[in-house]
């Protein structure tokens, strides 16, 4: 039932330490508020009624994009999706992430929504996840005990569930500098051109040989077709160290189709989602390799 939110105790820590101690003190009962575009909707629409809400946006030093040539890209968890979408460095060097960012919700939503929130909310359709996993991103998780780094691929556990433990905050996303000749593409499939939750999404990121013919490192990540963003491992393997060809593309599509295990819901049937995985994976590979189907 769509309702006014229930009242809650509100905190606005100004340091990470303060945030950790609040998290520990109200063990499990406190919700972290970043952009609020998921959290507040859940509180209004789905009766989520946390006793405590902790706005982390006043903690300095969590909103940044730092790029070091040849090393990595670091994005603070509080960086908004709009900032990512419009960041020159991300558009140039990590365009597949910028692409994904530009497709999330509307500008109003992107101005509030954070990348940390997108990942922590852990929707199977989370817009930025496939691209980031494909880019081999890791996340830095902070707590009173210190920091730990987890590959993003291992971060998601189920719909709305991550490896974050009580008392932990997602602090940073680290994207390694891609090898030369790496190309990526993100395709979001829905019914509208904006304001859409993906019915299926596909990120393909691959490093090609110098001549651009052999696929050396292949990452195929699927969104909205499993409880978490899904790596299509078998599909990836088939392409590994191969020269691209039409029969091979067909095979990759078929394998991705088989690996996807979506549910049926009002947005699409499970079967249609699988079919679209096949189509979109093939399309993405063709686009990366500059092939037009003959």
């Amino acid at each position: 039932m769509l309702r006014k939110m229930k009242r809650f105790e509100y905190f606005e820590p100004s340091t990470l330490e303060e945030a950790f101690s609040l998290l520990n003190k109200y063990n499990g009962k406190v919700k972290i508020l970043s952009g609020g575009t998921d959290l507040l909707v859940a509180m209004k629409e789905r009766g989520l009624a946390p006793s405590y809400v902790m706005n982390v946006k006043c903690i300095p030093g969590l909103d940044y994009i730092k790029y070091e040539e040849k090393k990595d890209l670091r994005i603070g968890a509080l960086t908004t999706i709009r900032t990512i979408e419009t960041s020159n460095v991300i558009r140039e060097k990590f365009s597949v992430l910028a692409q994904a960012a530009s497709m999330l919700g509307s500008i109003q939503v992107r101005n509030r929504a954070t990348i940390g929130g997108n990942l922590c909310n852990a929707a199977p359709s989370a817009e930025t996840a496939p691209s980031l996993i494909g880019l081999k991103a890791k996340v830095k998780i902070a707590s009173l005990e210190g920091e730990r780094i987890v590959p993003l691929e291992k971060f998601f556990v189920g719909p709305g569930i991550t490896v974050l433990k009580k008392g932990e905050i997602l602090a940073e996303i680290i994207v390694p500098f891609p090898l030369p000749h790496t190309k990526g593409i993100y395709i979001k499939y829905g019914r509208r051109k904006a304001m859409e939750i993906a019915m299926v999404s596909v990120a393909v990121i691959a490093t090609l040989s110098v001549e651009g013919e052999v696929w050396e490192d292949v990452n195929i990540i699927l969104g909205a077709v499993a409880p978490t963003p899904l790596r299509a491992r078998k599909a990836e393997e088939v392409l590994q160290s191969k020269r691209i060809s039409e029969p091979l593309i067909e095979k990759v599509g078929q394998l991705a189709y088989e690996e996807a295990c979506p549910i049926s819901d009002m947005r699409a049937s499970a079967d249609y989602r699988k079919e679209m995985v096949k189509v979109l994976v093939k399309k993405a590979i063709r686009e990366i390799s500059g092939l037009k189907k003959s």
Binding site: L2, R3, R192, A194, S269
Partner: protein, 767 residues
Amino acid sequence: MSEFTVFGKSVPRVDARAKVSGETKYLDDIKLDGMLYGKILRSPHPHARILGIDISKAKKLTGVRAVITAEDTPKIKFSFVQDLADKLPLCDKEVCYVGDEVAAVAADSLEIAEEAIDSIEVKYEVLPAIFDPKEAIKPSSVLVHEDNKKSNIAFEIHKKFGDVEKGFKKSDHVFEDEFVTSKVTHCCMETHGCIAYFNYEGRLTIYCPSQAPHTIRQEIARILNIPRSKVRIVSTPAGGAFGERLVTDMKQPVAAILSRLTRRPVKIVNTREEEFMTARTRYPYIVSVKTGVTKKGKILARQAKVVVDNGAYNDKGISTLNYAGECFLMSYNIPNLQYDGFGVYTNKQFGTAFRGFGNPQVTFATETQLDDIASKLNMDPAELRLKNVNRAGDVTVSGTEITNSGLVDCIDRAVEKSGWQEKRSGPRKVGENKYRGIGMAIMSHTGSGGRFYGYAATDTFLKVSEEGQVTVITPAPDIGQGTTTVVAQIVAEVIGVDLSNIIVINSDTDIIPYDLGAWGSRSVFVCGNAAKAAAENLKKEIIEVVSKMFEVSPEEVEIKNGEAFLKENHGRRISFGKVAEFSVNRLGHPLSGRGRYFDPLASEVTYYKRAGKHIPTFTYGCQIVEVEVDTLTGEIKVIKITAAQDTGKTVNPYMAEGQMEGAILQGLGYALSEECLLDKGRPINPNFTDYKVWTALDIPKEEIIFVETDDPLGPFGAKGIGEPGLVPTPAAISNAIYHATGIRLKRLPMNSERMFYTLKKRDNNKK
């Protein structure tokens, strides 16, 4: 055009400034002193018996001022057509759909009201429910209304002219198809709401966005069992309407009862979720059409059987079914026609009026089938239509005289502007797995409301202040379509004053003349005619005064551009303001005018009888749509829409284009993406995330063409065109898809998934 100064011009809307600056007060922007917030408890079950309601907890909450159940209401059943009354404001014994009203509270704040509602405990005995109209129509079906109905058939409509069986026999080909349309809803950006206030004299004022304030006034009086004179409706600017604000919504009587108990104003506003849940939708139709044609493409007989998914209660079900039948009889000159419709109850949210009023559903069926016929006969779809359409001067088999028609011109112009010939024969394959096609559909629709009530008249009053300010008192509701501006334009044109001199009052049943409201594209026609008559009377009075001032005969006086002058001597002129002053100060009477639109034929037409005479004048349109289908995904992309529309005479081109562009977008959504989805009667997409209203990024190219036919009955020749824009859209798209792919989709929405599986099935069959 040049004969007019204001009429026919794209003048800005008179209410534009207030709207663009955020000043306009919509319902939820109004706060009255002491106002309470009401909330309705709704049924979570599609069908259940109410065994008991415990409101004790709710009553104890601080800030709760009233809690009511059916026991606190007069328990008078209601429907738009009172013979079909079946709906209580609060359910007594039985709930019939998810969202049905069960109890209500009024509290100091919305937050408290919501808490109170959540604390009410209702004991239900869940009953079997029925959702599929084809099942529900069977005699053996579970009954939607346990108490007093013997079957789920809520109403029937039958129209028969000529003998279709004979017609089919004479035909060379007979086509039979079934089409299924979906449940879509208005999605007004402003959710529905009202404020009700019963004062100490027992007089009730209801503030609400309304398309038909006088109708709502009667309905509320009936439900509350009080005299109509005790009810006053003040319509607030509507944030969209499209049919949703025509019939009383149960919030209105519920708020009234809460107010009567508390003696305070009570506001109830839908959340967006409630709006979707209780959205009175466009009625889903299952339409079976049978058409017989000769080899040469002459249609000899056509028969339609319509099953209306009525939902849990009657509302406009019978009226839409009847009206769609009128349109079914109209577009083509067919000697044998039969139309049989059945309204069937189901345990789902019910329908109401929605732009097009049944016509889009039936037109989708008939116009899609006609395209199929053209392809089987190997004829150009435009040619087949032109061969069969009614033309001005024709009398239909149902007895309608086609007084005026732009249909042929609409087809010709749309064909020309869309590049039809070229694109019909051009290549369909435009890229890897991409196919383009172009399709058309036509429609006829009322441009003048109708005589359905047995009367169709209204008045307009004009008063002129002592310095020349003109106030127009008209019943024309402005629901965003711009009737206040249209009425002002008409008055300004007749009496030759500037628009800025005109104020329009149109919102209070204590002031405005009695009228039936904004529906059936009737406001321009009915209210426009009344306004014109009033302005002409005022003009006479003005001229008389001027003739006295100038001491000349009235025939010598002309008025224009805010001035009166002598026809022969333009140097002798005087401003409108001075004339008004002279009249008040010297002659001792202010200027005023009264005008009436009266349709003598209306009283001869009784409800649902005398087909052929229901509608004073029709309007016509033709749309041509170009689509591109991706056969890998099933995606259907609309490239361009060319829409030619008969306007009679275009009152305000920008506003008329706006009506078309807005309607077309609703038509696109209806055709391709929108649908209220239910799971066992429970709405599963009651939000804009999953109910797919198109965004600015989704719109195709559009070209709007107006065909002017100068209607002899309309004000300055104008007809209403508020609705038609979406009527032919789904069929035109379906036909374009067929042209592109050879696949005929007969079910709405034609979404990518449906397209994909239809393509797949075909490809499998080929193998």
